[in-house]
Amino acid sequence: MIPGAFDYHRPKSVAEAIALLNDLGDDARPIAGGHSLIPMMKMRLASPSHLVDLRGLADLAFIRAEGGEVVIGAMTTQHQVIASADLAARLPLLRETALQIADPQIRYLGTIGGNVANGDPGNDMPAVMMCLDAQYEVQGQGGSRRVAAREFYQGAYFTALEPGELVTAIRIPVPPAGHKAAYEKLKRKIGDYAIAAAAVLLEVSGGKITRASIALTNVGETPLLADAASDLLVGQAPDKALCKKAGQAAAAIAAPASDARGPVAYRRQMAGIMTERALIRALGL
């Protein structure tokens, strides 16, 4: 439970942070809230020689509207996401999800940038970002680029980030008022990662579902976009039987590991049940 030795750096700007990361090379890691990285370091699953602390980058902690998008700075804490009245009104799914992450102490420090950049399939925000079709602003030595959340996750702890790059912000297209969304997470206790969880986003018009998007947490190496399940909803009149069918379609793509949370068959089934319940709740059925 004691990490290996490391040097500590506290840059004052994004440019300085990126320069440091590039100078120090592979043995350097950015640290944001530290609530994923430090536990791994304590178990010596990660032993970076240099930590580049992003907490000096005050300009990365913001939540603002830009046209039809909400932009959230990477260093915004999960607590700040919960506390934002604007987010609660326009993107209640984010607040709902953040409230199901860990516990208040962790949320005061853990950042949304760290949560999406970490690449742990247990993190809750990545599936939600995929569901919302968010884009990540990524900055490196060569400049900045945008990567869709749906393209970002490649394997457990393996993302589209290149060494020396940072996620600086998350851009989320705000769904129209009246949209329906929910995040259902099954867990063993407070502070636990999901046995399975599902994020859903829907638009309903004229008694029919006109848009649907579903993503799953912790039932694969990466968060999963359940396309077949959402396709099955579009154009249909919502009812419970339909939600069940969509749940089954979501379960079909789940490929969870067997661990203390349960065997594969159970966790796969739970991906379906969480999807079904999220749909039912979002649709008010």
Binding site: I2, A5, K189, D259, R261, Y266
Partner: protein, 806 residues
């Protein structure tokens, strides 16, 4: 106390004696973060030890190379079995008559077993250095399942004792067998079963769990080579025994060993035994002449220090058609892990598991227990229960429900029908115990009434019908459990540890101004001894509890005692303090008689002093008597007011209780909501109702953890997969149900103050109650027994097996 005058009541209230909801005095320091734990200790020149542990569950050690670790600046020493062997310290004796490797010599037998001990100037260097110790292993086949361990061709685990055909408790029947323990009348029991009208049989497993105290195990050893004295601070539930063992092992005379247990952050049985960390810290301190600190981390605590349970109980009941139990038969396969390090009284290799007939008048019974070695961590401690009592309680309370189901009888009714009746006490059980007192029917009926049992059953019936009609996906379960514990080990005729009888002790000293210091042989780990012992004294001696200091844990100053576990503090040391107080009161009476110039027979005790019978204004308070004892003792009487008592209890005590739980199970996710939990405890005389309630809350929370999620689980290669709190279920306040507590009072007839002990009752009664609730939810579908823990996925699997998912 209803016949007190207002004046007497006011004086009694001032004492804050027995029955008072006195606030815990120790909390003043704990809530301010000013407790003093082992890890708070800092000594000049202190260095730190850390273990190299085995990644394998079973492997031969081919080579250990410590050179790189020794070369790291700041590393002071690296101990391996090679260094300990010449001192004959590479193995240490266990309390169960086995030996346990301190540092593995030729083989490792469980994952995270101690292989080398690195000592360095600070913790960080030690942690780096353990990665530099190179150990070459050759993997061997692993045995995790105790049933497979007894197969004829199962791998031999304990090569060190392979030629030992006799264990501490008789013949060993297999190379992985430790002992067989038999109690009861086998032929009479078999005969009853042969002609029984109804029988039930179930394999009931109580999974391996871990006490997981908030503070892990730790020690600081400091050898003063000039004086030849060793001081050992540590997380010891039984400091005096640790000193004796330390002396026997090290050869240092007992009076030159000072063992100090400072504040302890929870023990629950985890801190009774001796661990390699203690021995290595001592040896390292002797070698280096510097104080050595060893503090384990959470993973080490969960994976290497003493586990609990792992009992696999094949359980049978015989009964008449109308529900009278006629016999009980139990066979237990007890998985002890790689070494038999159970902390039981010497004569009881399966603890007091023979309390397994529970609260019922069962005419004949037979019990046999086979202890088995596997490639798992050693232990088998009494996790918040007297020795193996929670296993026994789970066994009987689960099989009672199975029988009720078979008979088509309500589980509460079956219990009421078979309870030992009040007039049968003292009651001789078929498996050899004498229950001191009880009124089970009253307790059960009070519980049933309090929860509205009949309405609950009616609601359940309606819900089951709705479930069958497809209107709900929720099942309602009602758990009933009635437990009888056996605590207060114990009478010297039954109980010893390493040959030392399990008495306990108190030494009371009254100062001239009438305040008191009392020292005890026990050691609180959160139970609130500083508060409750003072209350016993306050009532016995008429001195306000606020003027009494209780001290424990320093073997130089405290009288010898066997420590705190198995709910023994109140039954044993509580007896000692009351008896010592009575010696003082007898002397005080002589002094009062002298002061009041009357015969001591003319005096009577009145709350806080003595008064002359029939002359109420002629009175001497204990404070005045205390002063007089130093100032003007009667001629011929020794000055001072002090007493010591070593209390050898005449019997165990038998607390009991009736618990009822209502649970709602979501069959589609397997998650469970505990809607209600009602706990009625009868622990005899109640010393501090608030502390009792706190103990019950804590014990129920642990029972909830065990029943609903805790498991130390190994994969088939022997990796322990639940070794951190990410995976080992420790409920938080959010998951913890709301507790409703209640009580009846049936004093122990043989205990000086009638108290029985309560700290462990809620764990003993709680686990079966939760489990019965979950099992009850599914029983109408034909399920008889679902194994613990009842976490989401297992409950879902149970539903799946019953075809509930369509």
């Amino acid at each position: 106390m209803n016949d007190m005058t207002p004046n007497q009541k006011e004086r009694a209230d001032k004492l804050e004696g027995m029955g008072c909801k006195r606030k815990r005095v120790e909390d003043v320091r704990f809530v301010q973060g000013k407790g003093n734990y082992v890890d708070d200790l800092k000594l000049p020149g202190m260095v730190f030890g850390d273990f190299v542990r085995s990644p394998y569950a079973h492997a031969r050690i081919k080579k250990i190379d410590v050179s790189k670790a020794l070369a790291l600046p700041g590393v002071k020493a690296v101990l391996t079995a090679a260094e300990l062997k010449p001192l004959k310290l590479h193995y240490m004796p266990t309390l169960a008559g086995d030996v346990q490797a301190v540092l593995a010599e030729e083989k490792v037998l469980f994952q995270n077993q101690e292989v080398a001990f690195v000592v360095a100037e600070d913790r960080y260097i030690a942690a780096d250095a353990i990665e530099l110790v190179e150990v070459e292993y050759e993997e061997l086949p692993v045995v995790i399942d105790p049933f497979k361990a007894m197969a004829p061709d199962a791998p031999l685990l304990r090569e060190d004792i392979k030629d030992k055909t006799d264990g501490a408790h008789g013949k060993r029947k297999h190379h992985n067998h430790i002992f067989t323990w038999e109690v009861g009348d086998k032929s009479a029991t078999d005969a009853v079963f042969a002609k029984a009208e109804v029988t039930v049989k179930e394999m009931i497993s109580y999974q391996r769990v871990h006490p997981c105290p908030l503070e892990t195990c730790a020690a600081v050893a400091s050898m003063d080579k000039i004086k030849g004295e060793l001081t050992l601070w540590g997380t010891f539930q039984a400091p005096h025994v640790i000193r004796t063992v330390g002396s026997l092992l090290s050869g240092i005379p007992e009076h030159k060993i000072h063992v100090i247990a400072p504040d302890i952050g929870g023990g629950f049985g985890n801190k009774v035994g001796a661990y390699p960390g203690y021995i290595c810290a001592i040896v390292a301190s002797i070698v280096l002449g510097q104080p050595v600190k060893w503090v384990e981390d959470r993973i080490e605590n969960l994976s290497a220090t003493a586990f609990a349970r792992d009992y696999h109980m094949t359980t049978e009941l015989a009964a008449t058609k109308d529900g009278r139990i006629t016999g009980m038969r139990v066979h237990v396969l007890a998985d002890h892990g790689a070494f038999d390090a159970c902390a039981d009284p010497s004569k009881y290799p399966a603890g007091f598991f023979n309390i397994v007939t529970g609260s019922y008048d069962i005419p004949v019974a037979h019990l046999s227990v086979d202890g088995i070695y596997t490639n798992k961590a050693p232990g088998g401690v009494a996790y918040r229960c007297s020795f193996r009592v929670t296993e026994a309680s789970y066994c009987i309370e689960r099989i009672m429900d199975v029988l009720a189901q078979k008979l088509g009888m309500d589980p509460a009714e079956l219990r009421l029908k078979n309870f030992v009746r009040p007039e049968q006490f003292p009651y001789q059980s078929a498996l050899g115990w004498e229950y001191d007192s009880g009124d089970y029917h009253t307790a059960m009926q009070k519980a049933l009434k309090a929860v509205g049992y009949d309405q609950l059953r009616a609601e359940q019936k309606a819900k089951r019908e709705a479930f069958k009609r497809g209107e709900t996906r929720e099942l309602m379960g009602i758990g009933v459990a009635f437990f009888t514990e056996i605590v207060g080990a114990g009478p010297s005729k039954n109980c010893d540890i390493l040959g030392i009888a399990m008495f306990d002790s108190a030494e009371i000293r009254i100062h001239p101004t009438g305040s008191i210091i009392a020292r005890m042989g026990t050691k609180s780990q959160g139970q609130g001894h500083e508060t409750t012992y003072a209350q016993i004294l306050a009532t016995e001696l008429g001195i306000p509890a606020a003027d009494i200091m209780i001290e424990e844990g320093n073997t130089d100053t405290a009288p010898y005692g066997l420590g705190t576990y198995g709910s023994r503090s109140t039954p044993v040391a509580g007896g000692a303090i009351a008896m010592a107080a009575r010696k003082i009161r007898a002397k005080a009476q002589m002094i009062a008689a002298h002061l009041l110039e009357v015969s001591e027979y003319d005096l009577e005790w009145d709350i806080d002093g003595f008064r002359v019978k029939g002359a109420p204004d002629k009175f001497k308070s204990m404070k005045e008597i205390a002063w007089a004892s130093y100032n003007s003792p009667p001629a011929g009487l020794e000055p001072g007011l002090e007493a010591v008592n070593y209390y050898d209890p005449p019997n165990m005590t038998y607390p009991f209780g009736a618990y009822i739980c209502v649970a709602d199970v979501d069959v589609d996710t397997g998650s469970t909501k505990i809607r209600r939990f009602y706990a009625l405890d009868d622990c005899g005389t109640r010393i501090n109702p608030m502390i009792i309630e706190g103990q019950v809350h804590g014990g129920l929370t642990e029972a909830f953890g065990i029943a609903m999620g805790q498991e130390i689980r190994y994969d088939e290669t022997g990796n322990v997969v639940t070794a951190s709190l990410m995976d080992y279920f420790l409920p938080t306040a959010v998951e913890t149900p709301k507790w409703e507590t209640d009580f009846t009072v049936t004093p122990s007839p043989h205990h000086p103050i009638g108290a029985k002990g309560v700290g462990e009752s809620p764990n003993v009664g709680g686990v079966p109650c939760f489990s019965n609730a979950i099992n009850d939810a599914f029983s109408f579908l034909g399920s008889t027994h679902i194994q613990m823990p009842h976490d989401n996925w297992r409950t879902w699997m149970a539903a799946e097996k019953l075809g509930l998912h369509g």
